[in-house]
């Protein structure tokens, strides 16, 4: 499955760990900054979950870095007591690429929004995913530009009435999961602010994955796009809509008599049908490690703006060489005897063609 370059398999391999027996708590990861999101913002729940989860990694706090772009969501690093950079709009994946490539001893996280990651920063996102830089990217999707007060975003549905689309948006939205899979991402997952257990589980797998992990997090913006994901949160209706992705299991929504599963039809297309009466031979078993991303992609397409079916969980989780490991391996291979010596530097400067002048500034006869 994976090409063995003798490279570490875990996303946090090489990052210094706490001494055995030492424990960190949520408080250790909470900075002294006053959190300034609007009351009820989904970002609070995600922050809480991340602060609670980080101690589980057992990493030294000083070796964790959060890099963000610009947006409400991108304020995230200020509230975590790790190293952090609140950068510029859309560029966090690029900045994180340089950091992760030059510092294998850091666990590097990117926090971004739907506008930050998919509009202005779309190019950097797809290239980070393609390269498979060892980063964990948390994409807070509230289907709106929050910070700039309510314009539609690249994930807003057609018809969305927002400040900049009073007559409804005519833009076709991106499905971030489909986009990431198309960009060769090796780890892609979706989760939701309101489901803390699921969020934490996905974060753990994402951090553990070596390479770029893209985690789309549905996040409610009560001020500019309130209730965008409510249909998924209503306990009964929501359960009927959420297709749970569990490796090695059928992809199922709901329970008991009304449960529905994903099947592959004779034409090869996926559809969601009542489990009762479904031909077992057609029921799709989820396989996160499938080398071919087309199943994961097909699953991502079951989603539509009406949110009749929304797959949640890990779509894909495959091992593939990472960019930063590859770059470092080349640098290491070029210097088997350690850092270059002064003599080697002088040799470089001299090059192959030199000549010597033994004289002075006196003109020659």
């Amino acid at each position: 499955m994976s090409i063995d370059l003798g490279m570490p398999a875990s996303g946090v391999a090489g990052v210094p760990r706490l001494p055995d027996g030492d424990k960190q708590t949520k408080r250790d990861f909470t900075s002294d900054q006053e959190v300034r999101w609007c009351p009820g913002c989904g970002d609070y729940i995600i922050l809480n979950a991340v602060q609670s989860f980080l101690p589980d990694l057992g990493l030294r706090r000083e070796n964790i870095v959060f890099v963000s772009g610009i947006g409400c969501s991108s304020r995230f690093p200020y509230y975590l007591d790790t190293y952090g950079m609140h950068s510029i709009h859309g560029r966090a994946p690029a900045i994180a690429t340089g950091l992760a490539t030059s510092r294998p001893d850091l666990s590097v996280w990117v926090v971004t929004g739907d506008g930050d990651a998919l509009s202005i920063g779309g190019n950097h996102l797809i290239h980070a995913l393609r390269r498979n830089v060892n980063l964990t990217i948390l994409l807070f999707n509230n289907k709106i530009y929050g910070l700039t007060k309510g314009q539609y975003s690249p994930t807003s549905e057609i018809g969305a009435v927002t400040k900049s689309t009073p007559a409804g948006s005519v833009d076709q939205p991106f499905n971030p999961v489909s986009l990431a899979l198309g960009a060769e991402a090796s780890f892609v997952a979706r989760t939701m602010d309101s489901d803390r257990t699921h969020l934490t589980e996905v974060l753990r797998a994402a951090a553990e994955h070596r390479g770029s992990s893209l985690v789309e997090i549905y996040q409610n913006c009560p001020i500019f796009n309130d209730g965008a994901f409510d249909v998924l949160k209503d306990s009964e209706d929501g359960q009927a809509r959420i297709l749970h992705l569990t490796d090695g299991e059928p992809i199922r929504a709901g329970e008991g008599d009304t449960a529905r599963v994903v099947v592959r039809g004779a034409d090869g297309n996926l559809s969601v049908v009542p489990e009762k009466g479904a031909d077992p031979a057609t029921v799709v078993t989820h396989d996160v490690a499938a080398a071919d991303p087309s199943l994961a992609f097909a699953i991502s397409r079951l989603d539509d703006p009406s949110m009749a079916h929304v797959p949640m969980g890990i779509f894909r989780n495959v091992d593939r060489p990472t960019y930063d490991d590859g770059v470092r391996a080349q640098v290491a291979a070029a210097s088997p005897d350690g850092p270059a010596t002064d003599a080697e530097l002088m040799e470089l400067l001299h090059g192959k063609d030199t000549w010597t002048v033994e004289g002075s500034m006196e003109p020659r006869a």
Binding site: I88, R91, T97, E344
Partner: protein, 623 residues
């Protein structure tokens, strides 16, 4: 038998189709001259198209080399010798050739078809239009093919060796040794023994042609130039810049991380640095210029020396991230190899029109250090200086070079190890403040009193965890602050930090000490201005000369220097950008002389400018 004549300097231009190998021919001739101890300077000039249609004017590529028995400041105003491999090369270059100059033409290419491609109705070799020049018609292609008659190679391969024939001939004419080229070919064609032998044979044949034909009656010798003792090599600006960066990182003991996106004429920096992995150099070819500088800044945040290299259009894309680096106060080296603009402009030609972009091309008050290299070999020192300023003051530094410096070459006296400046970088390892409860904490915006550089703690340092960002920060603590007075303080602090960077005083070259006219320059105009000054002084003119390396901040004595002359003239390859700054800053009525032809100034042109201004001074004193 030919006679041997000693001359003090010569300018040769090799010109041909882009496929004719003129750059290589020129390069080899240069190396052989350098080894002889001549001082020299070169100017390659190639088309933007990789392969413009064969035999056309846009497809002409040339390489000019000026070598002498005295110090050489420019690649030469006008060639003494033109080697024209086809009609297009003749037509494109004839205008630069003074009457009486020597032209060696490859007559084989003067076919009806090739002549009509460049609009010659009749062959200039036959219609008398070249009467004022000394023309040597040589059927270069066919003699080469003939010389290779015994080789089991196709005609095309044989023809391709004609540049070595030309090199052999010119080497004979100017008594250059062939050993260097032989060794070079042996390495280049180590895996292609047939091609190697053919090239060697062509080289020999060219040499023999000069020796045996009556056509060339004179051979020339150019004695070595007096130079400081030491070991020398020839170096182009782009190689010198790459080596300077590598040297600075080596001296600092830190890894160098280059984030770059290919663009002419800066791409060679990426190529050169990507070959230096054994010096701890990491290169990232990013998806665009914004990502390139982003990855460099990310690396700087992690404690590496982050560098990004580009040309004008790329610098435009990097603006926002340079602004972020100004706000984060992290070291970052940005190299802009200027080319003709605006927009795509003249990608392969030189210009100095990015100065104002470098100084001010960002939103907000966003000061950075700006320095400019003055010659190909000076790129080495300038790159080290850029790293030193960036790391010492935690600031972006923009180093301006240009197409002329990047591709031009000159001999470089190699520095010894102890001549190399040291680059010392200190990271914070301890808390530097206390919080309200008296607990020791780290405040990232506490400054060094002397340099105003902020404390730099890199991730991985326990206890110093902190967040930085592009939002305004409170002086000292670095926390987000929207306080009006604090913003005013921070804007002024960032400016004061740049203004306080230690730069050497401007030195003035005024041998008599009584000149009333000062010629000031910056960047790659150094050579032409110095050569022009030399010309003017040779005719008795009193003129002082000074050259600016530090453009932000400028030397402390600059205003005083400017005011101490009756007249200051400033040649620039833009429409007067530095003149604008100096007028605004020092209220001195700078006389701007500008040209934007994509080519360096000539010494003769600038000497005339000097004389014009001396004339004005003279008239003024009479009035």
């Amino acid at each position: 038998m030919s006679t041997l004549k000693n001359i003090d300097s010569v300018v040769i231009r090799f010109a041909g189709d882009s496929g004719d190998g003129m750059q290589l021919t020129g390069d080899r001739f240069t190396s052989d001259s350098a080894v002889l101890g001549n001082d020299l300077s070169t100017l390659p000039n190639f088309p933007a198209e990789i392969r413009a249609p064969q035999g056309t004017l846009p497809g002409v590529s040339s390489f000019q080399v000026h070598f002498a028995d005295h110090s050489v400041l420019t690649p030469g105003d006008a060639p003494d010798v033109l080697v024209a491999m086809n009609p297009a090369a003749l037509k494109a270059n004839l205008g630069d050739l003074p009457r009486g100059a020597t032209i060696i033409v490859n007559t084989d290419e003067f076919t009806k078809r090739n002549l009509s491609k460049v609009g010659y109705a009749e062959s200039p070799l036959d219609d008398g239009s070249l009467e004022s020049w000394q023309v040597h018609p040589v059927p270069l292609t066919s003699i080469t093919v003939e010389a290779l008659a015994d080789f089991d190679l196709g005609r095309k391969d044989k023809e391709r060796a004609k540049n070595m024939f030309a090199l052999g001939l010119l080497s004979w004419m100017y008594t250059r040794p062939l050993d260097g080229t032989r060794a070079f070919l042996a390495t280049k064609f180590a895996k292609l023994p047939d091609i190697l032998e053919a090239n060697l044979a062509a080289l020999r044949a060219g040499h023999a042609y000069g020796e045996t034909t009556e056509a060339f009656s004179v051979q020339y010798a150019v004695a070595p130039a007096p130079m400081d003792s030491g070991t020398y090599r020839n170096i182009t600006g782009n190689v010198a810049t790459a080596y300077g960066l590598t040297t600075a990182a080596h001296r600092a003991g830190l890894p160098l991380v280059l984030g770059s996106y290919p663009i002419t004429p800066a791409s060679d920096l990426l190529h050169n640095l990507s070959k230096l992995k054994h010096f701890g150099v990491t290169t990232i070819q990013a998806e665009d210029e914004i990502a390139a500088i982003g990855s460099a800044l990310g690396a700087s945040f992690g404690g590496a020396i982050g560098v990004t290299t580009t040309s004008g259009p790329g610098l435009a894309l990097k603006s926002e991230t340079i602004g972020l680096a100004v706000s984060l106060e992290l070291p970052l080296v940005v190299i802009d190899v200027q080319r003709g603009g605006p927009s795509t402009g003249l990608p392969t030609k030189t210009e100095q029109a990015d100065l104002l972009q470098a100084m001010f091309g960002r939103n907000g008050e966003s000061p950075v250090a700006v320095i400019a290299a003055s010659s190909p070999s000076d790129c080495f020192d300038a790159a080290i200086e850029a790293v030193r300023i960036a790391t010492t003051y935690r600031t972006p530094v923009i180093l301006l070079t240009d197409g002329y410096l990047a591709n031009g070459s000159q001999p470089w006296r190699l520095p010894s190890l102890d001549e190399l400046p040291s680059v010392d970088v200190e990271f914070a390892t301890e808390p530097n403040a206390t919080d309200a409860k008296g607990k020791p904490v780290f405040h990232p915006y506490v400054r060094d009193e002397q340099t105003l550089a902020r404390a730099w703690a890199v991730p991985g340092t326990p206890g110093l965890e902190h967040r930085v960002g592009g939002i305004e920060k409170a002086d000292g603590s670095g926390e987000i602050s929207y306080d009006p007075a604090n913003h005013d303080t921070m804007v002024r602090l960032r400016q004061a930090k740049i203004d306080g960077i230690e730069v050497p005083d401007l030195e003035v070259d005024d041998p008599g000490g009584d000149a009333k006219l000062l010629v000031l320059g910056w960047g790659s105009t150094y050579g032409p201005i110095a050569a022009a000054t030399r010309l003017a002084r040779a005719t008795g003119a009193k003129v002082a000369r000074a050259h600016l390396r530090n453009l932000a901040p400028m030397p402390a004595n600059l205003g005083e220097v400017l005011r101490s002359y009756d007249r200051v003239v400033l040649p620039e390859m833009n429409l007067g950008q530095l003149a604008l700054l100096l007028r605004a800053e020092y209220l001195v009525d700078i006389q701007s002389h500008t040209a934007v032809r994509g080519l360096p100034f000539t010494a003769v042109e600038l000497a005339a400018v000097i004389n014009e201004h001396l004339e004005v001074l003279h008239e003024g004193s009479r009035a």
